[in-house]
Amino acid sequence: MYPQPLRALIDELGRLPGIGPKSAQRMAFYLLRQPDEDARRLAGALVEMREQTSLCDVCCNVADRSGRCDTCSDTRRDTSVICVVEDPRDVVAVERSGAFRGTYHVLHGALSPLEGVGPDQLRIAELKSRLADGGVAEVIVCTNPNVEGDATAMYLSRELSGFGISMTRPASGLPVGGDLEFADDATLGRAFDGRRPLEG
């Protein structure tokens, strides 16, 4: 129905997450109507992204071709604390909080036994290798507070117990500025479990 190059683009766009055939068609026709240089810029960005990015040698976060991400290259970061996250986007979320000045380790997923994702598919060996090098006092397991994230945290706690380092998990609890009466049972329960003494 459509010329082959346009059909190929629709097929490729349709493979992106969350993009159905209709959306792929709409995007393809939008690009078709754009000036030539816009389409070339997009194509160039895609190629450059593939060619110029790799995983950081240290933390497995996304990095440029130098092999070190910005965090691992920053000498002011506290290398004795590692925050373990599931995804590179989680690094951005924690950085936005401004509450953490240590380094990261990106697992690129979480244990998902029902999906068949096991420890071998995660970057756990790289984490162990970092710990074996020494100099790490604490590992903060900042995986998502869901079944997969909890399973990953418990697995890491077991696997890394031999290194003799402190293993912690961020507190779960009430959102700042929220009302108690609207909190769900599980969150409220965890908030009570993680209560801390008042100072003053």
Partner: protein, 240 residues
């Protein structure tokens, strides 16, 4: 638009679009159903913490224009919170829900099976060896499916002593004359009999009963063979 209120156990979830989840629910009155929980993956969602795998909930489901139901309200029964606090319990719990998902068909109510799943998950909190609860659940599922292995005598010749092997094709234990399949120890034979022929409560109270690893392996193979699919959780987590 019709709504139904039911007691359910969340067997499985699949991510959908930006922040939604498709939840596979085993309900007491309506069998296995699929429902979309809209916006549930956002931190602001009030449903999120209650629509995860292994959650035991009271749920209000709305029927829409498609096959999928829609989750309108959820209240936690909180019965299985203990399962998520411990790796061994979680691993066993995931084996149980995966088996329950594989063993059921949608919209086919089976209250006895629902109760079996609920009790197995509840027992995980009390049993000293969670993997034994999962093993027992696998055997009970086989029995529920009408595929209980022959344990009283040789499945081939009927001999009731000297049972030394287990063969899935023959459907149970075999004597030394008919031996085929995998060899089994006397401890494993005794444990399987206690699980299926009386004595399960005692087994669940014991810490690592003899032969449990062997029996777990037999149970997984038997269920996989019966249901025609692999149990990923058991393989991935080394739950047994």
């Amino acid at each position: 638009m019709n709504t139904v209120r039911c007691e359910a156990i969340v067997l499985r979830t699949y991510k959908l679009a930006e922040a939604d989840l498709i939840c596979v629910l085993l309900t007491r009155d309506h069998g296995k159903v699929r429902a979309v929980a809209h916006g549930v993956r956002r931190t602001s969602s009030k449903l999120g913490s209650r629509m995860e795998v292994l959650d035991h909930v009271d749920v209000l489901l709305a029927k829409g224009r498609t096959e999928l139901l829609s989750v309108r309200q959820v209240e936690s029964r909180g019965a299985f919170d203990h399962v998520r606090d411990n790796y061994e319990r979680l691993a066993a719990g995931l084996v149980i829900v995966e088996t329950a998902d594989a063993a059921t068909i949608e919209h086919h109510a089976d209250e006895a099976f629902f109760e079996m799943v609920r009790r197995a998950l509840a027992t995980l909190g009390e049993a000293p060896t969670p993997s034994v609860v999962a093993t027992a659940f696998l055997f009970k599922t086989l029995a529920h499916e009408g595929a209980s292995p022959v344990l009283e005598h040789c499945a081939s010749c009927g001999e009731d002593t000297d049972l030394v092997a287990f063969d899935l094709a023959e459907g149970g234990l075999l004597c030394s004359s008919c031996r085929r399949g995998r060899p089994v120890s006397p401890e494993a034979v005794a444990l399987m009999r206690r699980i299926l022929l009386g004595g399960l409560a005692g087994v669940l109270r014991e810490e690592g009963p003899p032969g449990s690893a062997e029996v777990a392996s037999i149970a997984i193979d038997a269920v996989e063979s019966n249901l025609g699919r692999r149990l990923r959780a058991a393989r991935v987590l080394g739950a047994h």
